[in-house]
Structures are given as structure tokens and as C-alpha cells.
């Protein structure tokens, strides 16, 4: 039985669109997607699944909701795409409404379940198919759709105006220069080694992270730049809404901007889904088997700077610290050892989570779930009690979250479950701990 509170959530993006749906249109869209769109892959997955249910224990929503079978990955598939296939698209508007709730708010496409499937079925792919169908039908949670609209109109996810972007970089450069003499954020520096790209919440609400990176770049002696024009945002919620056309446009502009600037690689800030969009889903849709030039996640970048001695640590964080392994850079890229190397360099008392690495639980915010916004917040928090328990077991005071979705999601969980912890990006710890070469880098916590 689905959570009755979730079923009662009002979301104009879903409810009003469903009211206008005609069965014939639903059938046509489903047939189109199931026909040309997915073919053999879907068929293999559907024919291979033996309904064993081993995926259930992998899912944070299932575990957090007292093992309610409705929240098992297999159930989410059975209740959505299987029915569409079985009924050859002849499903009702109400059915689509249920599909949207399940696909957008009860699954974050974190892919943990695929590791527990004896056949390795990519269940998240099946959920993404459901999202694609919902998107084509215009049935998308309102806040997620608004984010996608922002991507489509502005190429960034938070309606950041072009002048606000540049102004923020200038302002952050000036702030950073107050901290460390000579710090710059070079704009449009053609031929720099690195283009640094971020996600829109950084200029919008977390601008200090950009100043921090400017300080890090200065200390490490990196030849870098940031673009002044659209294409600076590497995030991509269209990937998660199912609007792959907008996803492709956003990713293309990001890579075109890097190619115009003649940089050798792109370093991105601490975000997981953006890594997935820029390295996997975006390039794939555009026809690239890999990004046209290398993309380096912040975790890989910090690791590189520390290993090569370009940044030295002056003092370590004393209070107990734990970590959130972001799905898209750990399960998706295997950065967990590099992540722990960095944390151990920065922190005296690191307390690892269990389970960890690629087996870690999702934050329940990624995959577009947190972007579904306030209507679904309670549902999201109820769906990750298991994460709260996992973090509480470490007795840490600080949770390192090298991903914006994880950062926001874990912060919400900490508040809802009263864990008394704080979240932090690595970037924030690094500027406190590193030797800046000017006698600073002192920290007491």
C-alpha cells in the first residue's frame, strides 16, 4: 500500500496535466517510446527479471518505509512500465499520475538496486523510461519542470541572469582577494589549462564556494578560467525529467564553451548528477562516447592537488567527520578511495559509514527527487530514515558531502531526524586546512 500522504500530495505539474490527458494520446506516446525508443534493451530486461525481489533490500525507500513491498524497486517497475507494456499503452490518466509519483519521487535512479539484481538489470533505466513517457505527456512535478524550463531558457538551472553570473564571479574574486592576495577568477582566458564549471546554486545561494575554489587555484598555481557566457552551468535536471532534447542542448553548450576557450580539461565543482550529465548521459545522447575533452570531478581534482603536493595541509579538522558517498561519482565512477584519501588528509577523526563505497545508501535527494520541491519534501524525508540511522551510528559531527544534491538532502535529513550534525563540502574544509603560503590555514574547530 502506497503511503496515503504521498498519494494525497497536490502537485500542479502532475494534477493539472493529468486532467487534460486523453487515453489515445497516452497510448500513442507509450507505443512510440516503447517501440523506437528502447527496443531490445527493454525486452531483455523484462524477460530476464524473475521477480525474485532481491532488489528490495537495496532500496533506501523500501528499507526506510518498514519494508513496505510497494517501495521495492521491482514493485515500482511492476506498477509502471510493466503495466504499460502489458496493456500496450492502454492505460488511464490516473495510472499516469501514479507512474509520475513513483518514477519522480520514490526512485532517485541511484542504481543501487542494479548491484543487487542477480542479472544486473538496470532498474533505474526502466524508471527513466517511465519519466520519459511522463515528460512527453507533460506530466512532471511542477518544481522539477520549472528547473527544466530554466535550463531551456537560460542554460542554467536557477534562472540566473547573465549579468548576475559575471557580477557574482567578480564579487567572489574580490572577497577571495581579501583572504589571499593576488587571487583572481580569470574570465574567458583562452588557452587556460582548465575551465572550471559549477552548478547554478553556487552563484545563486552558495557563492562562497566559488571564492574558495579561487583560493585553492591560486595556492595550487593552476592556470584556469571560468566562462562569462552561458554554458558555465554543468548541471542538468532535464536529464531527470525525461526531456532529453533540453538535456542535450544544455550539455552541448557546456562543452562548446570549453572548446571555444581552448582548455585542455574541465574541472567541475562538487556535484554528482552534473557529473553524470556531463560525462555519461549528455555526451551519449549527443553521440559522444565520452566527453570531447576530459572532465574531472572536484574529488579527483583535490586528490590530484594533494597527491602531487601542490596543496599542503597546515592543520587538520579535529572533530569527528563522516562522509556521504554520492551515487554518481562513487557507484558511477569509483571515486570512493580518492574521497577518503582527501578526508583523511584533512581530518584527524574520520569515521566511515557502513555500508560504504558503492554500497552506500543514496541521499534520497538526487535523481531529480529534491527538485520535485516542497510538495514532496516530507515523502523524501520519510524515504531515507535508513540514511539517518547510518549517519547517527558514526557519532560524527560533520558530514562531508561532495555533491550539491547530497548536501541539501543530508542537511534535510539531519534536521528532520534531529541528528545534530552539520554538512560540509570538501572545498570548505580545504580552504580552512591548507597551507596558503602566507601563514594562514589555521583552524580551530
Amino acid at each position: 500500500m502506497a503511503d496515503i500522504e504521498d498519494a494525497r500530495v497536490e502537485d500542479a505539474g502532475i494534477d493539472q496535466a493529468v486532467d487534460k490527458l486523453e487515453p489515445a494520446r497516452i497510448e500513442a506516446v507509450i507505443r512510440r517510446v516503447l517501440g523506437a525508443g528502447c527496443g531490445a534493451r527493454l525486452k531483455v530486461y523484462l524477460q530476464t527479471c524473475v521477480h525474485c525481489g532481491l532488489c528490495a533490500d537495496a532500496c533506501h525507500t523500501y528499507l526506510s518505509r518498514d519494508r513496505d513491498p510497494d517501495f521495492a524497486p521491482v514493485a515500482k517497475v511492476k506498477e509502471t512500465i510493466w503495466e504499460m507494456v502489458k496493456r500496450q499503452g492502454r492505460v488511464s490518466p490516473e495510472f499516469i499520475k501514479k507512474c509520475a509519483r513513483i518514477a519522480y519521487t520514490e526512485c532517485g535512479a541511484c542504481r543501487r538496486c542494479s548491484m543487487y539484481c542477480p542479472f544486473g538489470i538496470d532498474i533505474a533505466y526502466l524508471i527513466m523510461l517511465v519519466r520519459r513517457i511522463c515528460a512527453l505527456l507533460g506530466v512532471v512535478p511542477v518544481y522539477l519542470q520549472d528547473t527544466v524550463n530554466s535550463h531551456a531558457a537560460t542554460s542554467n538551472q536557477m534562472w540566473v541572469q547573465p549579468d548576475d553570473w559575471i557580477d557574482t564571479l567578480i564579487w567572489q574574486e574580490e572577497d577571495a582577494a581579501d583572504e589571499l592576495e593576488g587571487v583572481r577568477i580569470p574570465l574567458d582566458r583562452e588557452g587556460a589549462d582548465i575551465m572550471y564549471s559549477v552548478i547554478a546554486p553556487e552563484p545563486k545561494i552558495l557563492a562562497q564556494l566559488i571564492a574558495n575554489m579561487a583560493v585553492i587555484m591560486k595556492v595550487a598555481g593552476v592556470d584556469w578560467t571560468m566562462p562569462s557566457l552561458d554554458g558555465w552551468d554543468n548541471s542538468n535536471m532535464a536529464m531527470y525529467s525525461g526531456d532529453f532534447e533540453v538535456m542535450g542542448r544544455v550539455e552541448r553548450l557546456h562543452w562548446e564553451r570549453a572548446l571555444q576557450l581552448k582548455v585542455k580539461r574541465v574541472v567541475m565543482g562538487e556535484c554528482g548528477h552534473a557529473y553524470r550529465g556531463a560525462v555519461y548521459d549528455g555526451p551519449k545522447w549527443l553521440g559522444w562516447s565520452k566527453p570531447p575533452i576530459p572532465m574531472v570531478h572536484a574529488v579527483e581534482f583535490y586528490y590530484e592537488l594533494l597527491r602531487e603536493g601542490r596543496i599542503k595541509i597546515a592543520r587538520k579538522i579535529k572533530e569527528p567527520v563522516t562522509v556521504q558517498d554520492p551515487c554518481n561519482i562513487v557507484r558511477g565512477r569509483g571515486l570512493h578511495h580518492k574521497l577518503r584519501y582527501i578526508i583523511n588528509e584533512l581530518c584527524e577523526d574520520f569515521r566511515d559509514v557502513s555500508p560504504r563505497f558503492e554500497h552506500n545508501y543514496c541521499c534520497a535527494a538526487g535523481g531529480g527527487v529534491i527538485n520535485c520541491g516542497p510538495p514532496w519534501k516530507l515523502s523524501r524525508l520519510k524515504s531515507n530514515r535508513v540514511k539517518a540511522e547510518q549517519l547517527a551510528a558514526t557519532d560524527a559531527h560533520l558530514v562531508v558531502t561532495p555533491c550539491h544534491n547530497c548536501h541539501s538532502g543530508i542537511e534535510d535529513i539531519i534536521g528532520y531526524y534531529g541528528l545534530g550534525m552539520h554538512v560540509t563540502f570538501i572545498n570548505e574544509l580545504l580552504v580552512k586546512c591548507m597551507d596558503r603560503g602566507d601563514g594562514s590555514g589555521e583552524v580551530e574547530r
Binding site: 500542479a12 505539474g13 493539472q16 523506437a36 512527453l136 507533460g138 511542477v142 518544481y143 519542470q145 520549472d146 524550463n149 531551456a152 531558457a153 537560460t154 542554460s155 541572469q161 547573465p162 549579468d163 559575471i166 557580477d167 567578480i170 582577494a177 593576488g182 583572481r184 580569470p186 574570465l187 574567458d188 582566458r189 583562452e190 588557452g191 562569462s228 557566457l229 552561458d230 526531456d243 532534447e245 542535450g248 542542448r249 552541448r252 562543452w255 572548446l259 581552448k262 585542455k264 549527443l286 553521440g287 559522444w288 562516447s289 565520452k290 570531447p292 575533452i293 520541491g373
Partner: protein, 421 residues
């Protein structure tokens, strides 16, 4: 500065300016070099909040709080975006425009450099100024713009109606349009992208999003009848009669003209279509299979494909050759008519044809040093900094603008002499 014919094409090497003196400044920002190679300029920080532009050893008389986007125009004027007393404007050869703005950015100029345009913000509204003349129109947002070939007109992507927070329904009705000389098209669209003027500057085409999953091309606000899964930037034929764009069809990416297929081939991807100077032949970047990239000329892909990326192709002035930069297995190649030049590079810049089309030169980077490659042969000398080489009007000489051992130098090399060497 006079036109390219009037540049000094006497063969030889000249030390234009020593750069060691720049060490007296607190910061030295990004260099710019004039097209004729006679001048080098850079914003320098004298102290925090006090920036001047340094040009061949001379400073602009006025200090500003910030100066960026410094560049020489094709006609040799030096332009920058500057901030004074927290207001932004454009400075040309050290003279600020009279008008000031809350913000000014995205400088663009015409091919001859005589027209200069910039996006501006004033009173929380967005507009555009060309050569100091304000459009007057003010929009809720403006993302980008295109200039007409003569630089007198502009077409901008504008938001014409306010959206309440998360108002996805109003958004779907369309609140975006293209404003030409400040006047928005009557019709609104969900989105508009990539505006471009016709060669005579009388018409504007752009990508338009008609429905959430339907895209087309519109000219002067009127969309084609044909709709597509999505599209990329359109371009005009030189006669202005045809608009050509890559579009996504169920069979793959296609090249269409005025909505109808102009190429029969269908590709995994296609963009950056370019016309030959005769306005007939067409080249475009295409993906022939997943992860394989090349250039197709008149619908015939080069046999050689590349793994990473291929940049926009360019026809020679006589239309006989096509060149494109390609990244393959992690390094850059210069590819002419499908055949890569010898050598792989850490970076390569867009090559330049000689006016007669016989020669081709490019700036490349290898191991942190920069070189000029002519017709596939690298010059033996490498530099610390280098700007893309320029051919003389007769195509018999090459202008090299470079920094070597702390000195900015201007070199004019005779191609015959180079060939003998």
C-alpha cells in the same frame, strides 16, 4: 590602423615591446594583440581597485576599478568593458562611452570592426547598445544576440513577459521571442535560440520551440510548416533565399533547407554546417556512428573519422579545400580534406587560409610551447605565447605575433624563403 593592405609586410623581425616592465604592476591580466601585430595591450592592476590598460608601454590615462574583455577590433581600435564608480560602460582606445549601465557584457563587433554592440542592464531591465546608441527597449531578460553583417542591426533572444515563480503553464504558452532592433517578433515561443541575420541584414532566422517537444526554424517570426524533434543553429545561403539547419528526425539527424531535406544522409549527429564562398557547397560536422566524428562535404563524409570531437569546418577561399580541427585519442589534429597533417598537438587553433587558398597556417601547442604550422610543416621556432598567424593579401608572407623570452615580437616571414629553408 589601415586595412590589411596597409600593414607593414616587409619581411623581418621586430621587437615591439619588452614585457619585463610589467612586473612592476600588482597584477597583469590577459593580453590582446592588434590584428596587424603592431600593438600589444593588457589590463594591469596598479593597486586593488585601480586598473589601467597598458599598450606598448603606455598606460591609458584613466584608471578604472575593473577592465576586462579587452580586445582589438578588426579596425585596430582597442576596446574593453570597464567599471567606474560601480557603473559599467565600454571604453574604446581609452575613451569611455558617455552612457553608464548597471552592467555591460558580451561585446560583439562587425566583421570590419566598425560597429560595436554590448548587452546592458539598467533599472533591472535588459537592453542592447550599438555604437553607443541605446535600443531603448527594455526586456525582462536577454540571453544572447547576433549582429547583422554590417553591424548596424541586432537580433536578441528576449523574455517579453514576466513569469511568476514556478509558473510552468505560462512558460509553456511562450514568453520568449526574438527582438530585432529592439522590436520583438509578434509571435512568442517557448524558447528561441541561435538567431542569425540574412546576408543583406534584412531578415532574421532562429530556432524556435513550438511545443515542449516540437522544434522548428522561424524567419522573421514565422515558423516553417515542418516541425522536428529538435534542431541546431540555422544559417543563410549567401543569396539569402535559403535557410539551412540540422534537425533531428526519427531516422537520424538531417540537413534541411527551408524545411525540406537538402542532404539525403542521416547521421547520429550533425552541427556546424558551413557554406563554401560560392554559396553552393556545404560542409558540416557529422557523427557517422556512435562516438565517431568527421566532416561531411555535400553529404559525403570523409572516410577518416575521429574519436573525440571535430570542430566547425572552414572552406578555402576558392572552395576547393575544407579544413577542420579534430581531437582524436586525446590529441588534436589539423585535418584538410579528410587527411590529417603530420603531428599531433596538445591544442590547435582555427587555421587560416591564404587569400588565394594555396596555403594554410595554424597556431598549435605542444609541451607548453606554441608553434606555427604551415601547410603541415611546423616552423622550427617555438614561442612562449602566440597569436594565430595572418597571411598577406598576396598570400606570399605570413605575419607571426609572438612572445619570446619576455619580448613581444612581430615577424613577417616570406613563404618562399620558408620553403627553401
Amino acid at each position: 590602423m589601415s586595412g590589411i593592405d596597409g600593414w607593414n609586410w616587409d619581411a623581418g623581425e621586430r621587437r615591439v615591446v619588452e614585457l619585463g616592465v610589467l612586473s612592476s604592476f600588482e597584477q597583469v591580466h590577459e593580453f590582446a594583440v592588434s590584428p596587424d601585430g603592431e600593438k600589444l595591450a593588457v589590463p594591469v592592476v596598479e593597486e586593488p581597485g585601480q586598473v589601467r590598460v597598458w599598450q606598448n608601454g603606455e598606460l591609458w590615462s584613466e584608471a578604472v576599478e575593473r577592465a576586462w574583455s579587452l580586445r582589438f577590433l578588426p579596425d585596430g581600435r582597442l576596446v574593453a568593458l570597464v567599471r567606474v564608480d560601480d557603473s559599467w560602460t565600454v571604453a574604446v582606445d581609452g575613451q569611455r562611452w558617455e552612457d553608464e549601465f548597471e552592467f555591460a557584457w558580451n561585446l560583439k563587433f562587425s566583421a570590419n570592426g566598425r560597429s560595436l554592440a554590448v548587452q546592458v542592464k539598467r533599472g533591472m531591465k535588459y537592453g542592447l547598445v550599438i555604437d553607443g546608441r541605446d535600443w531603448g527597449a527594455e526586456f525582462i531578460s536577454m540571453r544572447d544576440f547576433a549582429l547583422s553583417p554590417d553591424g548596424k542591426r541586432a537580433a536578441a533572444l528576449v523574455q517579453v513577459e514576466q513569469l511568476a515563480e514556478a509558473d510552468i503553464f505560462k512558460f509553456a504558452e511562450g514568453v520568449w521571442s526574438v527582438a530585432v532592433d529592439g522590436q520583438p517578433w509578434e509571435r512568442r515561443f517557448i524558447n528561441v535560440y541561435s538567431p542569425v541575420f540574412s546576408p543583406d541584414g534584412q531578415h532574421v532566422a532562429a530556432e524556435v520551440r513550438l511545443d515542449m517537444f516540437e522544434y522548428s526554424i522561424a524567419e522573421d517570426g514565422r515558423p516553417w510548416d515542418a516541425v522536428f524533434g529538435t534542431s541546431w543553429a540555422p544559417c543563410y545561403r549567401s543569396n539569402g533565399k535559403g535557410i539551412i539547419a540540422p534537425v533531428r528526425t526519427p531516422e537520424g539527424w538531417a540537413l534541411v533547407e527551408n524545411g525540406k531535406p537538402v542532404w539525403q544522409g542521416r547521421y547520429s549527429q550533425m552541427w556546424h554546417q558551413r557554406l563554401a564562398p560560392d554559396g553552393q557547397r556545404l560542409a558540416a560536422v557529422v557523427s557517422t556512428a556512435y562516438g565517431r566524428w568527421t566532416v561531411a562535404v555535400d553529404d559525403r563524409p570523409w572516410p577518416r573519422t575521429f574519436s573525440d570531437v571535430v570542430l566547425a569546418p572552414r572552406f578555402s577561399p576558392d572552395g576547393g579545400r575544407v579544413v577542420a580541427l579534430a581531437r582524436d585519442q586525446g590529441s588534436w589534429l589539423v585535418v584538410v580534406n579528410g587527411q590529417p597533417w603530420p603531428g599531433r598537438f596538445d591544442m590547435a587553433w582555427e587555421p587560416e587560409f591564404s587569400p588565394d587558398g594555396r596555403h594554410l597556417a595554424a597556431k598549435v601547442e605542444r609541451d607548453g610551447k606554441f608553434q606555427v604550422v604551415i601547410d603541415g610543416h611546423p616552423l622550427p621556432r617555438s614561442f612562449d605565447m602566440l597569436w594565430s598567424p595572418r597571411f598577406s593579401p598576396q598570400g606570399d608572407k605570413l605575419l607571426v605575433r609572438a612572445v619570446e623570452e619576455g619580448v613581444y615580437k612581430r615577424l613577417v616571414l616570406g613563404l618562399e624563403q620558408l620553403a627553401r629553408a
